[in-house]
């Protein structure tokens, strides 16, 4: 049964004009819904599939093996002196998290069409929940990464602490892009088919299978305009000691990510009022 209960005791409904405010307070009021939506997605994902959690392990592992075979062995892509499996897997963990979060949030609105048509709640909750759900898979794949680091006898340093802000950065990027794409996909249905291509191109524009160390400054910093480049190289630096210290490149990435999120959120809010009519 669809229903919604609004907390404010006096509510004025009128057409909105121009750029709407983000109304982040609304999201805070609906934080329990956010929690339940994430909980539902995770629960359903692990309930339905035979492989369950193994799926979250298999996907990056298989990709790593393929990359190692083709890029590491056949193409001999230089990997900054790091064994190629470890080199690529360290990048694949944040990349896969990003790609999954982006994919989930892009499809989230159209997938929740029925909710949009029948219940009121701040629409931002849907793509946000979809992106946050990816953190569970990230936790799973991180355990393999930890295992690989141990197997290759890589020493842990205090730099590991940087992983958390880098994951947050990846989340911001996926959410920023996800807000754009999910709002667009309500209006234009082919966005759903374009998105996977976009993600694929984005991966090759990101130093996942190769290293950005061959770029000279200032080009390496400019490369940070692709915010995922900063995330991936940051990960390598934090865990393997190569790549770039969170200096100018990561700062540029963070700025680009913030811009992406801000524009995405405003675009989303602007289109939000049409969702129930179009979806």
């Amino acid at each position: 049964m669809t229903s919604s209960t609004l907390p404010p005791s006096r509510l004025l409904i009128r057409p909105s004009r121009g750029w709407a405010s983000l109304q982040l307070r609304d999201i805070w009021l609906y934080r329990e819904l956010l929690y339940f939506l994430i909980w539902r997605d995770v629960k359903v994902r692990y309930k339905q599939t035979v492989l369950g959690a193994a799926w979250a392990l298999l996907q990056p592992l298989a990709t790593m093996l393929v990359f190692t075979l083709f890029f590491g062995r056949l193409a001999r892509v230089p990997s900054d002196g790091i064994p190629y499996p470890l080199f690529s897997f360290t990048a694949l963990v944040p990349w896969m998290f990003f790609a999954n979060a982006l994919g989930q949030s892009t499809n989230s609105l159209v997938g929740s069409a029925n909710l949009l048509r029948k219940v009121y709640f701040p629409r931002l909750v849907i793509p946000v929940a979809a992106a946050l759900g990816g953190l569970v898979d990230l936790a799973v794949s991180s355990t393999i990464l930890a295992g690989m680091l141990a197997a290759y006898r890589v020493e842990w340093t205090a730099r590991v602490a940087w992983v958390a802000p880098l994951v947050a950065l990846a989340l911001v990027v996926s959410l920023g892009a996800g807000l754009w794409l999910s709002a667009l996909s309500v209006q234009y249905r082919d966005v759903r088919y374009v998105a996977p291509f976009l993600t694929q191109f984005w991966m090759f524009a990101t130093p996942v299978v190769y290293s950005s160390s061959r770029l000279r400054e200032p080009w390496r910093t400019v490369y940070g305009l692709n915010p995922m480049a900063g995330v991936v190289e940051g990960f390598r630096w934090a865990l393997l000691g190569t790549g770039v210290a969170p200096g100018p490149m990561v700062a540029v990435s963070a700025a680009a990510a913030a811009l992406l999120l801000a524009t995405g959120a405003y675009y989303f809010r602007r289109m939000e009022k049409t969702f129930a009519d179009l979806v």
Partner: protein, 419 residues
């Protein structure tokens, strides 16, 4: 009216239909192609069609009033409810709502088939805007109301549809809003379920809450509401506390429009070079479940020698074909070549056949055997069969079943009492 719960002022909602009415989804490719075409030609062809789903709607509803909203499909009732529950934004005017709003537009939205009953109660509660603590507090009541205690840890996809609906309704029924907006949720489920819903609705209404109740179930509107708002083409056409008068007017008034249609000019009448329809009519105008009636069709046969056959389909509101009847056993003209000219076929339908509700008539003209369709016309007529209110007691719900025959019953003693 002491305290106002809902006030609307000139509320309007404009929908742009676009040039392709059928598919509202656009693709990015199309949009780009269109933009390119626009740059190329700049002829601005075809301004997008738009329609006011709700127009100039102003009313005030006092605290504790139970108001029914009636009108045909497409009259704007649901859009109005969607605006008031903030699902869609108005294009014009404003609405003010004082109090916690609960809106129920459908039964079971947000339920996930793979989750268990227990999990769905929490998920659905959260979607409806309940706090987790609230759900926990009412959990026992919800489960008891739904009567699904034994299946709480079973995935709802294994539920019977009745259990599913009961659980879905139970969650919403335990919302605690001051203002309740309800859309046609009672149109689903079996008689027992509907009875339970209506009982709960009556209870809610009795507690002094404000209720806005959209329904096609006139019996329920009559029984529950103290005021009725009638909508047509997006506008309010009646707003009165004399519920019986508005409902009767609505039931008879609307019928004339669709239960009889006439096209005096053979050139513009619907049809083709073989057949054109001159008239289609249901007689008499007002039909209740026990009135016999007839469907009359007058048509021009335009090609001499055609062995015209006529096939009549009656569908109910859910689109189910209730019956199909053909002229195959018509004694005078069936199977004989028809000269050019105007013909009139009449199909007599006995009383105590159709259940209460709206029905559409679909007519197919065919040649001789089943050789070919000459012409067909969907939704040729729309008519209402009214319920008879007598002998129903407290039960406002829809009488179940696609048909409503008046059947003979006998009961006899089979064995003597034990002694």
């Amino acid at each position: 009216m002491s305290e106002i719960a809902i006030r609307t002022q000139g509320l309007g909602k404009l929908y742009t239909l676009g040039r392709r009415r059928a598919d509202k989804y656009r693709t990015l490719g199309e949009a780009l192609a269109e933009a390119a075409g626009w740059l190329w030609r700049r002829n601005g062809a075809g301004a997008p069609e738009s329609i006011w789903a709700v127009r100039d709607v102003s009313f005030e509803i006092g605290r504790g009033e139970v108001v029914g909203v009636i009108g045909r499909n497409g009259a704007g009732k649901t859009t109005l409810l969607k605006i008031l529950s903030r699902i869609t934004e108005p294009t014009a005017g404003e609405a003010e709502i004082r109090g916690r709003v609960g809106s129920l537009l459908e039964v079971g939205t947000g339920f996930h088939p793979d989750l268990t009953g227990r999990e769905n109660v929490y998920l659905n509660g959260a979607i409806l805007g309940m706090k987790r603590a609230e759900i926990e507090r009412r959990f026992e009541q919800i489960v008891a109301f739904a009567e699904v205690e034994k299946f709480l840890d079973t995935a709802v996809k294994h539920y019977s549809s009745g259990m599913y609906l009961r659980l879905a309704f139970a969650v919403a029924a335990h919302l605690d809003p001051e203002i309740l907006l309800v859309d046609e949720v009672l149109a689903v489920g079996d008689a027992v379920f509907q009875k339970k819903c209506l009982g709960k609705m009556g209870e809610v209404a009795g507690e002094g809450r404000t209720v806005l109740f959209v329904s096609h179930n006139m019996t329920a509107v009559r029984g529950l509401c103290g005021r009725v708002i009638q909508m047509e083409g997006g506008r309010i056409t009646a707003d009165s506390t004399d519920v019986d008068a508005v409902v009767s007017e609505y039931l008879t008034g609307g019928m004339e429009a669709c239960s009889s249609r006439e096209w005096p000019d053979a050139e513009t009448a619907p049809g083709n070079d073989r057949i054109r329809i001159r008239l289609a009519r249901i007689e008499p105008e007002a039909i209740t479940v026990n009135t016999p009636f007839q469907v009359e069709v007058e048509y021009w046969n335009r090609k001499p020698g055609t062995r015209v056959g006529l096939s009549l389909f009656v569908h109910n509101q859910e689109g189910v074909c209730i019956f199909n009847s053909t002229t195959a056993r018509e004694p005078c003209w069936h199977g004989k070549p028809h000269p050019e000219g105007l013909f009139r076929s009449v199909c007599r339908v006995p009383g105590n056949l159709l259940n209460a509700g709206s029905y559409t008539v679909f007519v197919k003209f065919y040649q001789g055997g089943v050789k070919g369709v000459l012409y067909q016309h969907t939704d040729l007529l729309l008519f209402e069969v009214q319920d008879i209110v007598e002998d129903r007691g407290e039960w406002f719900g829809r009488w179940p079943g696609a048909v409503r025959p008046d059947l003979r019953w006998t009961t006899a003693v089979v064995t003597e009492p034990w002694n």
